[in-house]
């Protein structure tokens, strides 16, 4: 690995460790750094409340942000490459809309059809929401894969994905119109996206699933590099373009489906992090961009979660607002800086 790339990766790794620790340290309740350190390593910090706050609230949140950020960034990179479109992101194929539709069906219709509002079911309600999001997202993804086998052009597929998103949003609108106010509120809260929703028990499942999926997605680096050249060249260099495109879509789709199911739709990270990494590392090579996006996605998600939870905001800031407010200017600065260097302005 070239030296500047190795240095960049190490810096990203260090930033993850730093932000992860700050996520455990900072919040509305002040816990001393020494106590946090002891709690992480399983030692007795002498205060059960601190122990509970760090282990049962802040740690699951930090782990969720860590893996969700990585998943979304990797999925975004895959989508941008396979569609050769810088505006492609995890939401572009309608997969997040599918998750939203799944949740909307369950949350908004539970009260009317089942007689009991899902929002009152507590833990069972959360699991039902997660499962419905996964089913919704995967259903849309299967539809997209089916379409991908029928159409040749990437642009057609992209447009169909966007259309599916619109249809899902329209159906959600209709469902909202006929639903009880309480259910609509529960759905809106889910739609804001949050790393704090995943409870201690669920976070282990979430992290294990992502720990399997993320290394698997790394297996596509050579495929993604070839797809950069365009379908004709990729095919001439021995790639089965149609099959590879489906693999990449399935991989990105499953990542987005799982993250959305656990955290709700998180915008911006999947779109912006790959651009950030291309700007920083100045390469299109996915052998660099994939691990870089994974690390930068985690780092940025941890930073955003930290800001959303800073004393003063008291967890009131939706993470989606923070991801866009913090990330957009950072990405814009990186892109402008490198554009100037390229053109020598």
């Amino acid at each position: 690995m070239k030296r500047p790339i190795a240095v960049g990766m190490i810096l990203l790794g260090v930033s993850i460790l730093l932000f992860f620790f700050l996520n455990l340290l900072l919040g509305s309740v002040t816990v001393p750094a020494g106590a946090v350190w002891k709690i992480i390593w399983g030692a007795d910090a002498g205060n059960e409340i601190w122990q509970n706050i760090v282990l049962k609230s802040r740690l699951p949140q930090a782990v969720t942000a860590l893996v969700a950020g990585a998943g979304l960034a990797v999925a975004g990179l895959q989508m941008q490459t396979v569609f050769r479109n810088p505006l492609a992101g995890p939401s572009v194929l309608g997969v997040s809309s599918g998750a939203s539709l799944g949740v909307a069906f369950v949350v908004l219709l539970s009260g009317r059809l089942g007689g009991v509002a899902l929002s009152r079911l507590g833990y069972m309600g959360e699991i039902a929401m997660t499962l419905s999001a996964i089913v919704g997202a995967l259903a849309v993804m299967l539809l997209i894969v089916w379409v991908a086998q029928k159409v040749k052009g990437n642009v057609t597929l992209l447009i169909i994905g966007v259309m599916i998103g619109y249809v899902a949003t329209a159906i959600i609108g209709v469902l909202k119109f006929f639903s009880a106010e309480e259910d609509v509120r529960a759905y809106v809260v889910w739609g804001l996206g949050s790393f704090a929703r995943v409870s201690g028990g669920q976070v282990a499942t979430f992290a294990i699933i992502m720990a399997v999926l993320l290394p698997l997605s790394m297996l596509l680096v050579k495929t993604l590099n070839l797809l950069l050249l365009g379908d004709g060249y990729a095919r001439n260099l021995g790639l089965n373009v149609k099959r590879s495109r489906i693999w990449v879509i399935v991989c990105a789709g499953v990542l987005v489906a799982i993250v959305t199911a656990y955290c709700g739709p998180i915008s911006f990270l999947g779109l912006a992090v790959p651009h950030l990494c291309r700007g920083i590392f100045r390469t299109s090579d996915h052998r660099v961009l994939m691990p870089a996006s994974l690390l930068a996605g985690s780092s940025l998600a941890l930073l955003c979660n930290l800001i959303a939870r800073l004393p003063g905001f008291e967890g009131a800031l939706p993470v989606n607002s923070v991801t866009a407010l913090i990330g957009a200017p950072v990405v814009a600065v990186v892109l402008f800086k490198h554009r100037k260097e390229d053109t020598g302005e």
């Binding site: 070839l226 021995g238 291309r278 299109s284 390229d342």
Partner: protein
């Protein structure tokens, strides 16, 4: 140098397969192409030059007839094996950013690299040779997005050379280039065919240049199939005259 037949076409018909119909673009194409030869495919727009190149590259199935590449039917090749036999330079523009010329030429080694696409020492040597042969040594660290059209075309030719295939197809490699660049590219391709014994088959609209550098010329006319011959024969052929000079 002994010339060997590398491509053989037998009663080939090319075109597009619709859902319920087939649109034939050209038919009855029978000829062969040899190693060490530069063959130029000329013809008006819509005559089927690109369709023929795409069919020979394995991108499109032929409507009927046979295509033999190095003595084996084209359809019998697996994708990964064909990648070691045919290299292409296409008209499609890839909006590549943040990739150096050397990295792009290195992509030509993909059929030979492992799962991660990492270049071994011998792959790097082949890339350096390809860059040298095309004469773009001074460009190798430049980002692809900063190249002119002519430079980019040379880089794609170097990529095809790094691919180490006995056959190279080029779809209008001189399009969008100024006259000196056209001459330079065609001379380069002629040199590669004769010195490296490559089979080079390219489509072009530059009749005058094609007749100057080509060993053989294929003329495609709309609905008229393909006429083949040496540049001298074709230039005196009434069909060529009718088509190009009215």
């Amino acid at each position: 140098m002994k010339r060997e037949e590398t491509i053989r076409l037998e009663s080939l018909a090319i075109g597009y397969h619709g859902k319920h119909s087939v649109k034939v673009v050209a038919e009855g194409i029978s000829d062969s192409i040899c190693s060490g030869e530069l063959t130029c495919l000329i013809g008006e727009n819509g005559a089927g030059k690109s369709t023929l190149l795409r069919t020979l590259s394995g991108f499109l199935p032929p409507v009927s007839g046979e295509i033999d590449i190095l003595g084996k039917p084209l359809k019998s090749y697996r994708e990964t094996d064909l990648a070691k036999v045919i290299g292409v330079v296409l008209t499609e523009k890839n909006n590549l950013q943040n990739m150096t010329v050397e990295e792009l030429v290195g992509m030509g080694r993909s059929p030979y690299t492992g799962f991660w696409g990492r270049l071994r020492t011998e792959d790097k040597e082949k890339v350096a040779q390809a860059i040298d042969l095309v004469g773009i040594g001074e460009l190798k660290d430049r980002m692809v997005q900063t190249l002119s059209d002519g430079e980019r075309q040379k880089v794609m030719i170097a990529k095809a050379l790094a691919q180490e295939t006995p056959i190279i197809f080029l779809d209008e490699p001189t399009a969008f280039l100024d006259y000196p660049s056209k001459v330079e590219i065609l001379n380069l391709l002629h040199r590669l065919s004769s010195e490296e014994s490559k089979t080079i088959f390219l489509s072009t609209h530059d009749l005058e240049l094609a007749l100057r550098v080509a060993d053989r010329v294929w003329l495609m006319t709309k609905g008229g199939g393909v006429q083949t011959g040496s540049p001298e024969n074709l230039i005196v052929d009434p069909a060529t005259g009718r088509f190009y000079f009215g």
